[in-house]
């Protein structure tokens, strides 16, 4: 590594551990059992090559057998069981999943072939990139003993096609034919990858404990000679990143590099990566601390929460802070006007109306309250539970019920929902027998029966 390069590198890359011994050890579990992740992975890689060697020997004999025999006496070539060929690491971002793979490869003197969602997004690209390495060994390998390889399929949940199941067969066939061990990384549990989860070992990597993060951060602070950062600020950064070491290092670099004025520094410190949490604190702040229109404007201007959501959150939480009917009416007068204005903006592109929208839904609502209840700080902020689109749409379960009804009785969707299903509810409410008869005749299953109750 050239010295002048390190100056410009992001610290995350600069301080990425090269060997497993330098790492902050993340804990992991398989199913419910805690495991030593690094030891396990090492074992996995080493045993893969052992098994593969044995298997290659067997396959060579099979091929020799096939060459000398008739077609019907051919024997299938044996394949490695899937769970011996690949593992999946799953965990929140920034805790070192990718780093483990690289460090492991360095430990064992291997080469990493990496694919990630940013450069290989499609099935085809993934196949073409990995085909040579997975299916056969390069021609040079017979002449020169090259480095062994480790395949890292990063960000598997961001791979295009995961959402519609198209990618799973590709990944599976990749694992089946591989010549090298595969480590896959993913952020969340994905329903569509279920069939993959069943076949390979899945490590749930936990986020790093704060002390561990603090230790590493202090090391960097010493190395980079950072002064102007107080203990409190450091704690704030670590706390808000929730074990995301990469986030901490990035924030650290952001705060300490260059000449920042106080405001920007504050901004970086307060900028929360988790938007739901931000809305929570924002709503709380809005209702508890804001007393003037100027303050309300300040809040809405500073936040980067999507205003599309924000006013729905206000709608949901308004009643827990505003109690008097006259004040509620006032608040709703402003909120509904804001909603109307927003509708017109979206419909006719009257973006010049946007300032009114902001003032009405934030200041207009909060300031319509004259009396405050003393127990304000105890209110729970609620998630918008009810979202209405204004268009007629059925939930999946309702759609099933309506379709089953339409098989037997010709009604439109709207008639069924507004007229026929209420009657069925009434009828089935009278006795169990009725309910049973009805659901037998319409062939409702258990879930659909619930809708009639």
């Amino acid at each position: 590594m050239v010295a002048q390069n390190t100056e410009k590198m992001p610290w995350v890359e600069k301080y990425r551990p090269r060997f497993t011994k330098d790492m902050a050890f993340p804990t992991a579990k398989v199913g419910r059992q805690k495991v030593d992740l690094i030891e396990d992975l090492k074992k996995f890689v080493i045993s893969f090559f052992k098994e593969k060697e044995k298997l290659n020997e067997v396959n060579r004999q099979i091929r020799a057998h096939n060459r000398t025999h008739e077609e019907k006496e051919y024997q299938e070539e044996k394949k490695l069981p899937l769970d011996k060929a690949a593992v999946l690491l799953e965990g929140p971002p920034g805790i070192g999943k990718t780093t483990i793979a690289y460090a492991l490869a360095n430990d064992l003197n291997m080469e990493v072939i990496e694919t990630n969602a940013s450069d290989t997004r499609t099935k085809g690209a993934l196949e073409s990139k990995l085909r040579e390495t997975t299916k056969s060994r390069g021609i040079m390998d017979f002449i020169v003993q090259s480095k062994k390889k480790l395949i890292l399929v990063d960000e598997i949940d961001g791979l295009y096609g995961v959402t519609d199941r198209g990618a799973v067969p590709t990944i599976l066939s990749l694992i089946e034919n591989t010549q090298f061990p595969i480590i896959m990384c993913s952020n969340d549990y994905k329903q569509n990858l279920q069939s993959l989860y069943n076949k390979i070992k899945r490590y749930e990597v936990n986020s790093l404990p704060d002390e561990e993060v603090l230790k590493i951060t202090r090391k960097i602070i010493v190395k980079e000679n950072i002064s102007g950062i107080s203990e409190k600020e450091l704690n704030l950064i670590i706390e808000k990143n929730e074990g995301d070491l990469r986030g901490v290092i990035n924030d650290l670099q952001g705060v300490s590099q260059g000449s920042l004025n106080k405001n920007t520094k504050e901004l970086i410190l307060n900028l929360n990566r988790d938007s739901t949490k931000e809305i929570f604190s924002l709503i709380k702040y809005l209702f508890q601390n804001v007393n003037t229109l100027k303050e309300a404007r300040n809040v809405t201007n500073k936040s980067d929460v999507d205003y599309n959501f924000l006013y729905k959150w206000i709608n949901e939480n308004l009643t827990s802070y505003i109690r008097l009917n006259s004040e509620i009416a006032n608040a709703y007068d402003n909120l509904s006007l804001a909603d109307e204005i927003f509708g017109r903006i979206r419909k006719n592109q009257y973006w010049s109306l946007l300032p009114y929208f902001y003032d009405l839904f934030a200041g207009g609502v909060v300031l319509s309250r004259k009396h405050r209840t003393p127990d304000e700080s105890f209110h729970r902020i609620m998630f918008p539970r009810f979202t209405s689109t204004g268009f007629f749409s059925l939930s999946a379960n309702e759609r099933l019920v309506v379709e089953k009804i339409q098989k037997k009785y010709k009604v439109s969707d709207i008639e069924a929902v507004q007229d026929f299903i209420p009657f069925l509810k009434l009828l089935s409410g009278t006795s169990r027998k009725q309910l049973q008869e009805l659901s037998d005749w319409f062939e409702f299953d258990v879930n659909e029966k619930k809708l009639l109750k």
Binding site: T319, N325, L335, F342, G390, F392, S412, V417, Q418, F423
Partner: protein
């Protein structure tokens, strides 16, 4: 199969044109059309749920005979397209530049509804030994300006497919459509046939019901058969004797009742509970805010108020409804009205 249904309104659904309750003149006219083996486009007009669709369906069944399944279709005009259908419409809206013809590379501007639901059916050739196909379009008025697209469709594909358009609001049908159709006014069932039908049902289900009760049933359900039969079934659960008291006891128009109780909750000044209830109504009945305000207006007329407060309430309602036209969030708009009524209730 229908006759085994536990729901009486399905069990006693007419199966042939002859079984339709009352309305002899219409049946005669329709039978005439069947004998001629030809008819123009039809427009069925009549009030809500009196059997327009059933008549149209049975008529096309009688007309098409055993080719009914392949050659007829019912389209509900007021049901919006599902996501897949809109996707399909969008896919088909461009004609590829690879194709030969004057339309190549152009965008089709036909409304998605017509393209997805109507055109594929009317363009297909007749199957079997019948003169043409029959397309039934229900709630035709809710198509609004898309009605215009039907004008040419009815002419171009008229020989291949005849349409039966069904509507409750004849004033909303545009003139060009009216002039292309023969109008059928579907009347309500008269009392005589109503009594006959109810008596037969009562006989089959072993119910005891006298003439006065049938008269009351006719009055409270305003002659709509499906509601009357529903009510009869609900009453029959608690015993085979049916009298007037029982009818009134069980008669409820559940959606209107719920909205009524919503209003009353508001007059008591409990905004939070009212909002919970309004959300419940919205999610179970899928009302748009407009429909909800409409029912509120009707219910408001039934509640006892002084002229001043009634006018004031209507004023609030109108204001809220007006705002909701451009509003994006139904819940906020309805909550707005509820909050205003709650506030007003303190003055009362």
């Amino acid at each position: 199969m229908l006759s085994e249904s536990p729901v009486w309104r399905i069990k006693y659904l007419p199966i042939t044109l002859n079984e339709i309750c009352g309305r002899k003149d219409i049946k005669e006219r329709l039978k005439g059309l069947i004998n001629d083996r030809n008819f123009p486009h039809l427009l069925f007009v009549g009030s809500k749920s009196i059997g327009k669709t059933t008549i149209a369906d049975l008529f096309s069944k009688a007309f098409l005979g055993r080719f009914y399944d392949a050659n007829s279709k019912i389209v509900y005009a007021n049901v919006p397209l599902t996501n897949e259908e809109t996707k399909q419409a969008r896919l088909e809206s461009y004609i590829s530049t690879n194709k030969i013809g004057s339309l190549a590379g152009k965008k089709i501007t036909t409304p998605a509804f017509i393209r997805v639901k109507i055109k594929p059916f009317v363009q297909l050739k007749v199957l079997g030994d019948v003169p043409f196909k029959i397309l039934i379009v229900k709630d035709f008025d809710s198509l609004g300006s898309n009605q215009q697209a039907f004008r040419r469709l009815m002419e171009i594909y008229g020989t291949n497919c005849r349409m039966i358009l069904i509507t409750t609001k004849v004033s909303k049908i545009i003139d060009p459509i009216m002039s292309r159709c023969q109008v059928f006014l579907i009347s309500q069932v008269n009392y005589h046939s109503f009594e006959e039908l109810i008596s037969t049902i009562a006989e089959k289900e072993a119910l005891k019901i006298d003439k006065d009760t049938i008269r009351t049933l006719y009055e409270i359900t305003a002659g709509t058969l499906s509601n009357a039969i529903d009510l009869l079934q609900i009453c029959s659960i608690s015993g085979n004797n049916i009298d007037v008291d029982k009818l009134y006891e069980n008669f409820s128009n559940s959606k209107n009742d719920m909205i009524k109780s919503l209003l009353i909750m508001c007059f008591k000044g409990d905004f939070r509970k009212a909002r919970e209830l309004s959300r419940k109504i919205q999610s179970s009945y899928k009302f748009t805010s407009q429909e909800m305000f409409q029912i509120m207006l009707n219910e408001l007329a039934k509640l006892p108020f002084s002229t001043y407060s009634r006018m004031k309430l209507i004023n609030l309602l109108a204001e809220a409804d007006f705002r909701a036209i451009d509003g994006r969030d139904t819940d906020i708009q309805i909550s707005n009205l509820l909050a205003k009524i709650c506030q007003f209730s303190e003055v009362l």
